[in-house]
Symmetry: D5
Subunit: 102 residues, 10 copies
């Protein structure tokens, strides 16, 4: 099941530099694990902002919440989730790969 997720990060000004560094390193490892197992399907930086747009492909609402709530930066993020469905104008996956298509 597909979800679009936007995350905006705001670390408190009072957080020691070393804590921030350690937190971001943990966040990165966490994000990469989920990318490797295919559940964090896309990850882009929003230009000019400490924010990302991501696509998750998970079993459903509960699994998505569990993944997001487990993010090391979760307490410092505003997260917006948009559930997505198949679009009728989407070309079929097979067509995508069919010979003769550009």
């Amino acid at each position: 099941m597909i979800y679009l997720v936007r995350m905006d990060v705001a670390l408190p000004a009072t957080m020691p530099e070393s804590d921030a560094t350690e937190l971001k390193a943990r966040e990165k490892r966490y994000a990469q694990e989920l990318q490797r197992d295919g559940r964090w399907a896309e990850l882009w930086r929003v230009v000019g902002e400490y924010a990302n747009y991501s696509v998750f492909d998970v079993a459903g609402n509960d699994e998505l919440h569990e993944l997001l709530a487990g993010l090391p930066l979760f307490p410092y993020m505003r997260i917006q989730v948009t559930p997505l469905a198949a679009h009728p104008s989407r070309i079929a996956a097979e067509e995508d790969l069919a010979p003769g298509n550009p």
Copy 2:
């Protein structure tokens, strides 16, 4: 270059049914052509809304505007464009395909 695009469609209540049908058919053909040539990279329906989230992969701002302004439904849509950049926690494409990854 990657852009996230949200399109919300609102056809005027006065549009004849046949015009709407014809317009949507043209929109679908146009969308599928751009998917086949790889520039309309992702296309999802927003659950419960006559709207989509799309990802475009184009040469830049001018090409994106040209593609969007050419949409048959363009005069009836509100479009929001968010430019995206590579994210430092994104796993490299090669790693994605490397043996040993799930």
Copy 3:
């Protein structure tokens, strides 16, 4: 899977009374069918507004969109979907029914 859905209805001022009546009758039959099969789990009127808050219990995003897009009033509604997950403070269903609970 649980979703909170808010629907705001706005019929065009130009719609003939009989069309509106017929549309609302179809909407009611549709809503009641989905309530009977358990997928439209809750349905409340928002006080003072031509709007409802509903709870859907469906297989996932695609099924929810299919149900909502099939609503006879769909072209005349603004719909907002919020995906919900289990809450850790929710008392378990069994406890609910256990003897000795008030």
Copy 4:
């Protein structure tokens, strides 16, 4: 009388971990008591957010305010209350339970 309530929690960054833990434990006990006596009728997590949507079934406005203002996390929450009414398309409770319904 039915109310939809959304609660968004924001603990101050300066609150000691132990205070937060104790507060959350008290919040959980309080929430479960109200669920057991039937006044906190539904409780869901909003996916990706430290927030919930809840349904309360209470005698009226004053009782609802008293319950909400008594929440241990009340000073740290933004709460939005929407009064709900019976919906004319809601299938009657008796019908729900009638033999022959799915």
Copy 5:
């Protein structure tokens, strides 16, 4: 039970003058009936707007919705309802009337 209600009226530009006049006359009679039986407790014009703030004193959510949905101008209004509770700093009604108070 007390509710604050704001109503913003927007008649369609296409409504014939005579329809508007008749509708407003019915609205006035309806509003005055409810004032006389005490349920429409306060009614003020918002300065500079075709809008009012009202206070309703009714049995609860369902009765309030029934009254509001019955307004002749209901299809042409945006209505916002805020449930109100007793305030701990409110002087008691008896004190209000007690001898010696100004």
Copy 6:
């Protein structure tokens, strides 16, 4: 002259408990004095929020500002003022009291 006033209170997390208690006690005395002299005509709690809706009946804008700026909690409140006028559908005060009215 009538004004609707909404006040939202937000005490800083760093304020010592005793200061808050003393401030609230002063606020209550102040509010009750103004109720007794008739200028703070109505006072309700907004359900679920540390906020109130109030009606003031004062000589005009300057007096209202003086009263509000004098609130002990003024530095910690967001205040919104809506000037109100007589509504043409308001039943006259005399009619209210006339024999034969319920």
Copy 7:
């Protein structure tokens, strides 16, 4: 008593040119009468918009509403009223006129 008023005009696209012209002429006469008697104290165009910011100096809320509701363009305007009070840093009128001031 002083009020800041913003008026945004939106004539319906269907209004005949001659009606619009006649309406604007009446609006102008009305606005100039109120300026001459001193109640419409200031009148400026908002740069780039069919809108104005105005200052009214009237007896109070009721008189202001009566003046605004009497505007020929009233049915086609969105009006926002902000009540104003004397500012403690305002130099006194007498000082303004005192000899020796620039």
Copy 8:
């Protein structure tokens, strides 16, 4: 050149009382100087808020920014500037003073 300016002040809760007092005194002197030389043409308190609406009459954008950025409270204010133009319905200054006008 005329500009409408709204200033909302928010002093940090941590600012010592004496600093605030000194800052406000400097702000007042600064405001009065600019009123005396005619550039800060109007100054009103927004009822119920620690905010003002002001009218500035200056040579242009650069001078206005210089004046506003020089305000002692500038670091603690949110400022919104609206450029204003002459309004075609404004009665001419001479007419204002002409004999025979009320």
Copy 9:
């Protein structure tokens, strides 16, 4: 004097195609005249929208309003004006052109 201006165009669905074409041609001629005389200094399309961001360099507020109100599309546009000032980090124009700069 410099201003940033955003213009969003929305032609009514009922405007005949030929009127729209004629209007846009007049708009284009008007825009190009102002570009040639240097007052419409910059003109960009907002990607994906029937909108532009423009920079105007004019004598002041009154001239800007006159230019904008004279736009053939003015009745069909929402326009937002932001006055701009010189920025202290802007490199001087002469430095820009000095030999030795990249």
Copy 10:
């Protein structure tokens, strides 16, 4: 490729004066370097605000993010990016320079 960028700066009240001064000096040097190499094409102060509107001319989304994220004030700014495209009514650069044009 052209982008409009708005930056709003908010330094924390707790930042020592000397840190702020040093940060702003670094920001200025950074901004001027980018202006000299032509990528930070325009830079204006928003009148009355600690904010700027800027125009960037860069290779694309990734380069723009890299430049913005490298701003010394980046952690203290809210940044909004709007991608821009060529406008069909823009006079050609050559025409601009052609003899006979004003």
